[in-house]
Amino acid sequence: MKRVAIVGVGQTKFRTRRDDKTHPELTYEAMKKALDHANLELKDIEAIAYGTMDPFDGIYCPERWDVTSGGVGKPFMKISTGGTTGLTTGLAAYEHVASGMFDIAMAVCTQRVGECVDAQPVLNTAVCPIYERHSGAGAISVAAIQATVHMAKYGTTEEDLAWVSVKDHQNALKNPNAHVKLDIGVEEVLNSPMICSPLKLLECCPRSDGAVAVIFASEEVAKKIRDNPAWVLGEATISDNYYAGDRPDLSHWDTLSIAGRRLFRHAGIDNPIKDIDVAELYSPFTIQEVLELEALGFAKKGEGKKFAKEGITFPDGDMPTNPSGGVMCTNPIGATGLVRLAEASLQVMGEASNQIPDVSTALAHAWGGTLQFHTLMLVSSKKKL
């Protein structure tokens, strides 16, 4: 396997609507920023992996139009896997280079959730029309069940969860690209309107328009591009069965535990909380950060609820989580996974807007489907742990 590094990152500003730009213009904005960051030109990019989730965009197969942002005449591959799309697109671009077939490949994801009336009914068309569709299954309803089960089993409180939101919102204030910027405390979260019990408005992500691009390069090329690249140390993707009702226990995200175990074994991580300095987790709902911290071994089962409240996941804590403000404050659904990787890479490069001191290794995560998929990528300033 060829060693691969991330050498450039570009993000647009994420907003409720980006009516100022067309789909390919928005894509190009992210691509241009990534190219500038890596001091490269479009002609240097040998191949592109492109990701989006068509149903949210009001346009089907938008890659056909978006290819005009700089992909014409190049190998250009469209990836779409639900909420994990951003990170699987990053993974596909990584494989372009790791295989030795290309020296420089770009992952780019664009999403305009502002184009669809409501994301949840759209997501509902993903589930089985016979057994689950009429239940209203979507992202928020399954997250609410996760929260209820976790509360019943571990005594997690609404206040515990509110602290996750407070932490993310405080972090987003430092991120110029973040969508929702609110200076809020626990009281505001607890007093915000109930959306899907027990999750309240300020515990739920927005729907965002925006794009993100990440450039991958082979070892020889990466060294020439920058002296602080983010080396890709490993990846893991896992797929569960189709029916949300078939998950064995919603108080644990067992598939994420399995994926994490595989990644950590491959990358040589013994103790995640010690070996990983920053985590960018896909937590559009407060409860999910708690479940993810537990599933990945950062917290013991049932103890993840304390992490935000006790400051462990704040930027000055032992396990800084989502210093970008996370999915809680910015969610361009099919691009969100790649934003996680972009932010994790910037932390490793020492160039993040809400930089954590002395980061050497960072984890990026995305989940998708109705709790069906997970993808993880690990990046580091070191070539090997």
């Binding site: 789909h23 989730m53 089907y60 056909r64 591959m77 469209k78 699987t88 372009h96 993707t237 998929f373």
Partner: protein, 360 residues
């Protein structure tokens, strides 16, 4: 390191009324049986097929992945014709991240009105009001092609006749009905200048390949079909900025595939092409380098095997057509009917192409 195909599974290509994951399951199971391996021996599940509207469900890999066998495994989807998932599976194995992978393509066009869905792929500013269904785009290309090179309707009808004749001998083909040049020329005009038999009909079906790294491949199957070259490339979206009488995405993809395999078009002895129209049949062969521009017809008069499967004109399951053609070529190589061949797939209105070189 070489990467080989060690198992092939093709389902029936027709209109499937049963829950579609059953069809995907059938393809995966058949491919595993063909390779003589179990699900647990496969580490990566690379799916290919369209999303949402194209199969009637958002995030279509949600319901296809478990049917393919992807439970608790690495799984990803290329959202295009499934032939575009072959390069991704290839790169994953080449990276060393996978030893044995399955690539599974699904096409379920009967679930949705494809033309209506495809109109939604047009940008809302310039093209959507034109309500261009794919067949209308193909018709513009046909019109440009016929005019640029004075290609006759009779010659084009012959391409249909030949594909139909070949399909009669292919158990997996969808349209099995021989026709004649007269019949084609007297059939209804579908979208001028394309007549009804000159446009591929939609159907449903799945295909799966088991792919493996060289040393493992030889353990599974003493005679794998090797993937020697791959190329994929995109053309401009704006039809007004394209040469409508040529398929430049195919040309670029072919150049890359030939370069990777270290061969030229003369070095292959069978071709499977995604001829969605009669004109595409010639235009693709020209873009692949088998004939000069406007001279694709020459191949009809030769013994050179093109679309022994019956081509896309006889079997076109929106999403798995390219992989269907590839499976047919792999079988020909296995049966000793060909030593080295190339397969081609195309999507959009001829905008995106992938070319794959397969050999003994």
């Amino acid at each position: 390191m070489k990467i080989g195909i060690v198992g092939v599974g093709i389902t029936e290509f027709r209109i499937h009324e049963e829950p579609f994951y059953n069809v995907a399951y059938q393809a995966a199971k058949t491919a595993m049986k063909d390779a003589g391996i179990e699900r647990r021996e496969i580490d990566s599940f690379i799916l290919g097929g369209y999303d949402s509207l194209g199969v009637g469900r958002t995030i279509s890999n949600m319901y296809v992945a478990p049917a393919a066998g992807g439970y608790l495994r690495h799984e990803i989807r290329v959202a295009d014709d499934a032939a575009f998932s072959i390069p991704l599976a290839f790169m994953r194995i080449k990276s060393g991240l996978s030893d044995v992978a399955i690539a599974l393509g699904f096409g379920h066009s009967s679930e949705t009105p494809v033309e209506l869905v495809e109109v939604q792929s047009l940008d809302p500013l310039f093209h959507r009001d034109l309500k261009l269904a794919p067949q209308m785009g193909y018709a513009m290309q046909s019109y440009a092609y016929r005019n640029a090179y004075n290609v006759s309707e009779e010659d084009l009808a012959e391409a249909v006749v030949k594909d139909r004749k070949n399909a009669m001998k292919n158990d997996y083909a969808y349209v099995k009905e021989e026709t004649s040049v007269e019949e084609v020329l007297n059939s209804d005009m579908a979208v001028y200048p394309l007549r009804e038999p000159e446009i591929a009909k939609w159907c449903d079906g799945c295909v799966a390949f088991i792919l493996a790294e060289e040393t493992i491949a030889r353990r599974i199957n003493p005679d794998p079909v090797w993937i020697g070259g791959l190329g994929w490339s995109y053309d401009n979206y704006f039809l007004g900025a394209r040469e409508l009488d040529k398929l430049n995405s195919t040309k670029l993809a072919a150049e890359k595939a030939y370069k990777m395999a270290g061969i030229r078009s003369e070095d292959v002895d069978s071709v499977e092409i995604m001829d969605l129209t009669s004109d595409y049949h010639f235009m693709i062969l020209e873009a692949l380098g088998f004939a000069d521009y406007g001279s694709g017809k020459e191949l009809l008069d030769s013994d050179f095997p093109v679309n022994k499967s019956g081509g896309a004109l006889c079997t076109n399951a929106y999403g798995s057509t390219g992989m269907f053609l590839m499976a047919n070529l792999a079988m020909q190589i296995r049966n000793g009917e060909a030593e080295r061949g190339i397969t081609h797939a195309i999507s959009g209105i001829g905008q995106n192409s992938v070319v794959c070189v397969l050999s003994k």
